[in-house]
């Protein structure tokens, strides 16, 4: 079982290897939810091989075999469809190396490579998930990894618990340092954009609407964002979290007008500057102030009660009263917003905007156009026409369902409005806007979320993906854009309460999501507590960004300057080190030892500084010979000192000369110290 050609005391022991394997599994386990799952079996394979080598069953693989299995791994990675320039690829490569390394971990320094990579991988995990649970898991991984770090340094095997205890102790000692870094380390914007994969990274509402999309969202109980109100909370039916404005209709799909190619948004926003947006709002009524934490979505769209007049955080007021983030949201984002829901928006409509809000495809949906002409002809005013259309939804046999029949691609509005009459918010909003435009009234589809679940425990509102909703805005003379929600005509309970209530009889709420915990009623109490804890985590830990840091530090220490911060950090750092010295120093209790022992300890420390470390079981005599051999220049002093110590300790015949021996030791120590 011994490897040839390596110094025996630098090899990792069998139990060290098992430790390393356990730590590797712990580190890799959460990552395989985001990366190719076969990376874990590779680790097991490599580690089992290595362990069999240690047991003497197999031979250590030669370079050729290593190259072959390495190439196989790379091939598999290429074949598994991970995008070449992406975070996933980088992480997968790291994981692959990490897994293969288990095969050639022989010496301690190989183990160090594995362990350091492990620490990096724990960090990589946070690029994928930053929840509280993952953070706790990260702490666990660090403990096990540190335990392995201890184990590979041991030349004998110890029980598992003492190692874990020691590593927890080490991490606990580091805790003040971690907190120091958390509170004081400068928060930088990312230096480069991490290439995300396109597939699963984007969640939530997309920038176009084909009836069907929102039904998919309604099957997800992921959190979209959470809101904390300052002051009074608006009523449930007022909670229209407005996100995107879909102006353009091609007969099937509604899209945003300012991204014809779908190639990302124009940050400059051609049509209106932020200032102009603010100017086009006539402030009315009371304000609603609230704080929103948006979950990772991979998109820049933000959702708010419209119109927003004040934004604190990294976002701007875009055209059509949207709130847009400067970057895609790849980690939870905190904003403080102030809305004035009763304000008038764009009382003056420019011709360009009017054209946008009246756009319809040239052909198609003739029945609906005919219906619009008929209704318009018999209406005295635009308002009356709108009411008639809404009445039609209310009084005719329209059904709100998450299982609508498939619509034809040519005349999808006709199919729904005249024939099937079964659909959900996207159908109603889309056809309502069509009817408005067909009658020459400017209108547009708005998507976002409606409602949310109030968490009494944490006093915040949780808005989930299944709260996704589409409604409309119609421009009226003298009133600007006014919100109309045709869905409310058909299914008032969707707006007054929530989707779950509206779908009670149909039973289609989260019906495809078998694993969803949201359906289990008796868990509600616990869920509320967990949600509330997670909210606090997002708000105070993940939400501790540049602004929050500045506010916090100002509150704690008053006005800040670089010198002041430096002084504070330096002071805290010194404090932590003092704490360590006290703690570790007290743990040793050497003060109680007799003088000769203290002198000998100093001698050993001195030798250790010169690179000759005494193992605790080495006797003064053995160590004397060892040290003399290692440090021939000091052999004389070492010899004298050790002999004096030995005599003082063990030879009773010199007791009368005890003090002179101690004096000798002192002077020798001084000599050695030079």
């Amino acid at each position: 079982m011994f490897e040839k050609g390596f110094p025996q005391d630098k090899l990792i022991t069998y139990s060290g290897m098992l430790w390393l394997l356990a730590a590797q599994i712990v580190v890799m386990l959460p990552l395989i939810f985001y990366l190719p799952i076969w990376l874990l079996p590779i680790l097991i394979f490599s580690a089992v091989w290595r362990i069999r080598v240690m047991q003497g069953h197999n031979a250590q693989p030669g370079n050729l075999i290593k190259i072959i299995i390495g190439l196989l791994g790379l091939g598999a990675l290429a074949a598994s469809g991970v995008k070449v320039v992406s975070l996933d690829m980088m992480a997968s490569l790291l994981m692959l190396g990490f897994a293969y390394k288990a095969l050639e971990v022989i010496q301690r320094r190989d183990g160090m490579v594995v362990i350091l990579t492990g620490f990096v991988l724990i960090g990589v995990l946070f690029l994928y998930n930053q929840s509280m649970l993952i953070a706790l898991y990260g702490v666990l991984s660090m403990t096990v990894l540190t335990g392995a770090l201890i184990a590979i340094q041991q030349s004998k095997s110890y029980a598992i618990l003492p190692n874990l205890r020691l590593s927890s102790m080490m991490l606990l000692l580091c805790l003040p340092l971690m907190l120091l870094f958390f509170f004081f380390a400068p928060r930088f914007e990312p230096f480069w954009k991490v290439p995300q994969t396109s597939g699963h990274a984007k969640t939530g509402i997309s920038d176009s609407m084909t009836p069907g999309d929102i039904a998919e969202l309604s099957q997800s109980d992921d959190l979209a964002f959470s809101v904390k109100f300052e002051g009074k909370r608006p009523g449930q039916n007022e909670l229209y979290w407005r996100g995107l404005v879909l102006q353009h209709f091609d007969g099937k799909t509604w899209t945003q007008s300012d991204i014809p190619n779908g190639k990302g948004i124009k940050i400059g926003n051609d049509r209106l500057s932020e200032k102009q947006v603010a100017e086009s709002i006539v402030k009315r009524g009371d304000s609603v102030e609230y704080e929103v934490i948006y979950e990772k979505s991979g998109q820049p769209w933000l959702f708010a009660l419209t119109p927003v007049l004040e934004v604190k955080g990294r976002a701007f007021l875009g055209g059509d009263f949207r709130i847009i983030s400067y970057r895609d949201i790849n980690e939870p984002k905190l904003l403080k917003l102030t809305s004035y829901p009763n304000s008038l928006r764009e009382v003056e409509l420019s011709d360009y905007d009017r054209d946008l809000a009246l756009q319809l495809p040239e052909n198609g949906n003739q029945k609906s156009r005919f219906l619009a002409d008929q209704l318009m002809a018999s209406s005295a005013s635009n308002q009356e026409y709108i009411n008639r259309v809404l009445d039609r939804f209310r009084q005719d046999q329209y059904f709100y369902t998450l299982r609508p029949p498939t619509l034809g691609s040519e005349n999808s509005i006709d199919d729904f409005l005249i024939d099937s009459k079964r659909g959900f918010c996207a159908h109603y909003a889309g056809s309502f806007v069509f009817m408005m435009r067909a009658a020459g009234i400017p209108a547009r589809v708005v998507t976002g979320y409606q409602g949310g679940k109030w968490n009494e425990q944490g006093q915040f509102l949780a808005v989930h993906q299944f709260d996704a909703h589409a409604w409309t805005e119609v421009w009226l003379e003298g009133q600007g854009w006014v919100r109309f929600d045709p869905t409310a005509m058909v299914a008032p309970s969707r707006i007054e309460q929530n989707l779950e209530t509206a779908m009670e009889s149909e039973g289609s709420f989260l019906e495809d999501n078998f694993l969803s915990m949201s359906k289990i009623k008796w868990l509600d109490g616990i869920r509320e507590k967990i949600d509330s804890a997670q909210y606090a985590w997002r708000r105070h830990v993940l939400g501790y960004d540049k602004n929050a840091q500045q506010n916090f530090l100002k509150k704690m220490f008053g006005e800040l300057s670089v010198q002041k911060i430096g002084l504070i950090v330096g002071g805290l750092f010194a404090g932590i080190i003092l704490l360590w010295v006290m703690f570790l120093g007290l743990a040793r209790k050497r003060e109680t030892e007799a003088e000769e022992h203290q002198l000998y300890r100093r001698f050993c420390d001195l030798m250790a500084k010169k690179g000759v470390t005494r193992d605790i079981s080495q006797t003064p005599e053995t160590f004397r010979r060892f040290a003399m051999q290692e440090l021939p220049d000091l052999a004389g002093e070492i010899n004298h000192f050790s002999q004096a110590y030995s005599s003082v300790c063990y030879d009773p015949s010199i007791q009368s000369k005890h003090q002179s021996y101690i004096d000798d030791m002192k002077s020798l120590l001084k000599k050695l110290n030079r």
Partner: protein, 314 residues
């Protein structure tokens, strides 16, 4: 110490090492056991030279010697002897068994039944045997060398810890180095030279040396170390049964004898370390399957050999 005595000791060792090749450490330990007036347990596979060691020892010491092969049908009387009716004198007279010898070799002790084993062990502890209410003193010095096959072999009655405790030291000879084995195979050295071994140490000298052992000085610092070792056997996480006070006494006594063997009149930590595994290995029990010797080595490595204080610092 008397230079004459020391000369006799070292030439005895030289003689022994000529017979038992390449096992200086074990030979010294065996000799330590004799000097400390304790009994020796040799545990090894068959054919490793256990018996040869015993032979060489009795020849060097010039003592009378008996050997009994232990088997499962061995009775206590086979060892101790029995009262036999003498028709001429019309009385019972005691016929001494093989145990009445200065060096008694109990070969394959663990093959005998516990009854026979305990008869031997009682004699070892008391230094005398009682038959029919009469007490018979065993000769002085009285020294038992018991050999034992590892207990995993079939057909054996393993000795319990309490009885293993009666042996001062347990050694195992182990396989010889390839070079040494070569010499043995050529047949000119080793056992072949057993016949040429002559008495070196007289019985009187031996008794004299045995009385010198307790005089070897043990300093406070050394006792600190011994107590740290003992404490470690009692608190180590791998240890189930720690060292008893009797075991601790044995440790000090053996260390003194070892120091004497080195020609020193005070004990150093090296002496303790040299005998530690042999003294402690068969007296402690691990929590897992760990062998006592291995455990003893682990303890030796976890205790600081210098410094004051009796608390073990792991």
């Amino acid at each position: 110490m008397n230079t004459q005595l020391h000369h006799e000791i070292s030439s005895s060792l030289t003689k022994l090492n000529k017979v038992i090749l390449g096992k200086e450490q074990q030979v010294q330990l065996a000799f330590t056991s004799i000097l400390a007036n304790g009994h020796l347990l040799v545990e090894d596979l068959p054919g490793m030279g256990k018996t040869t060691l015993a032979h060489a020892l009795y020849k060097v010491l010039g003592l009378d010697y008996n050997r009994v092969q232990f088997t499962s049908d061995l009775l206590p009387a086979d060892l101790i002897g029995a009262s036999v009716f003498n028709a001429q004198t019309s009385s019972f007279s005691f016929h001494r068994g093989p145990i009445f010898s200065s060096i008694f070799l109990a070969d394959e002790l663990n093959r005998a039944t516990p009854k026979a084993q305990s008869a031997l062990l009682e004699a070892m502890e008391e230094g005398q045997v009682s038959v029919d209410g009469e007490t018979h003193d065993l000769p002085k010095p009285f020294f038992v060398i018991a050999t034992q096959n590892p207990q995993s072999q079939s057909g054996t009655f393993p000795l319990p810890e309490s009885q293993l405790d009666r042996f001062l030291l347990r050694i195992s000879l182990g396989y010889p180095d390839p070079a040494i084995e070569r010499e043995i195979l050529t047949g000119k050295k080793g056992r072949a030279s057993l016949d040429q071994v002559k008495q070196v140490l007289s019985k009187e000298s031996l008794l004299q040396i045995q009385q010198l052992v307790p005089e070897i000085k043990v300093s406070d610092t050394l006792l600190d170390y011994v107590q740290r070792l003992i404490a470690q056997t009692r608190q180590d996480e791998l240890c189930h049964l720690g060292l008893s006070p009797r075991g601790a006494i044995a440790l000090v006594k053996s260390s003194q004898a070892w120091a004497l063997l080195q020609g020193r009149d005070y004990v150093l930590p090296e002496d303790v370390q040299a005998v530690f595994v042999s003294v402690v290995g068969h007296r402690i029990v691990g929590k897992t399957e760990t062998q006592g010797d291995q455990l003893a080595r682990h303890i030796l490595h976890s205790v600081d050999s210098v410094g004051g204080g009796v608390a073990a610092v792991a």
